[in-house]
């Protein structure tokens, strides 16, 4: 894969990728973009091994998810509280901002796999098969994670 083609694919995928990582990082936009950059570098270095057996987006999201997991395993330096994340994600104190705050606070309480499954299914409109490939887990496990994630979110989000 040439650099130009890689950039073209990345241009198409940058917004979904950043949104996925933003959800995983519970609204911390700066951290999400940092992990996205890291994922793009890793993807570029490994782009010679991309054979096109899966969609480019599936491959890229898998790398991004692995980068996020690596980040979670690192010793924590500075935690950005979810309230601060709200100000990063949205400046005004509108109803929308309140819902984002609720969403990010609820997502922050979910285990990583549930959070990733929820983000991919509801925010990125990926199907179960794609999520299974991205998170490297069987389709039945994805459905279980989604079900558990919904139940956990219901406990933390007031509708």
């Amino acid at each position: 894969m040439t650099e130009e083609r890689f950039i073209r694919e990345v241009r198409e995928q940058q917004e979904p990728l950043r949104r996925f990582l933003l959800a995983l990082c519970s609204g911390d936009g700066a951290l999400a973009d940092d992990i996205a950059q890291d994922a793009l570098v890793r993807a570029y270095v490994a782009s010679g091994s991309f054979l096109g057996l899966s969609k480019f987006s599936t491959w890229l999201f898998r790398i991004a998810y692995n980068c996020y997991i690596d980040h979670c395993r690192k010793p924590k330096r500075e935690e950005v509280p979810v309230d601060a994340a709200l100000s990063i994600a949205s400046g005004d104190a509108s109803d929308k901002a309140f819902r984002y705050q609720q969403l990010y606070q609820a997502l922050d309480k979910l285990p990583e796999k549930e959070k990733a499954a929820i983000a991919l299914f509801y925010f990125e409109d990926k199907n179960i098969k794609e999520i299974s490939a991205i998170l490297e887990m069987p389709q039945g496990t994805v459905k279980y994670q989604l079900s558990m994630g919904r139940n956990h979110l219901k406990q933390h989000i007031q509708l």
């Binding site: 949104r19 973009d33 950059q37 509801y122 509708l159």
Partner: protein
Amino acid sequence: MKEIEDFLRENKPAVKNNPTFILEARRRMEAVEGIKAEVDRQHKRGRVALIIALVAGLVVGVVATAIAFLYPVDPQSVGEGVWQSVRLFLQNYRQYLLLPVAVLAMLLALVLSRKGVLAS
């Protein structure tokens, strides 16, 4: 449960516009160009080694099958005990004993080339 699903679909996280994102990505990609070239070289070497191994396996398989057909072993000898069979086998095929040695040497060369021992 429908309510929570609607809430999630209606409140997708909003990504802030970042015009420097791609520029920064390009800058980082240029910085790792050397690493990418080395990784690509290793992939290529791995593919060549795989093809060589496949061809070698095919050739050895064909040769072994041909030998089995050209020099069949007497079935009676099988019943005469393991050591007798081994002795007969060595008698029948002593001229081909170098074949497995050559195969092992090829395999060793492949493994070493994949690890970069021969290239360095």
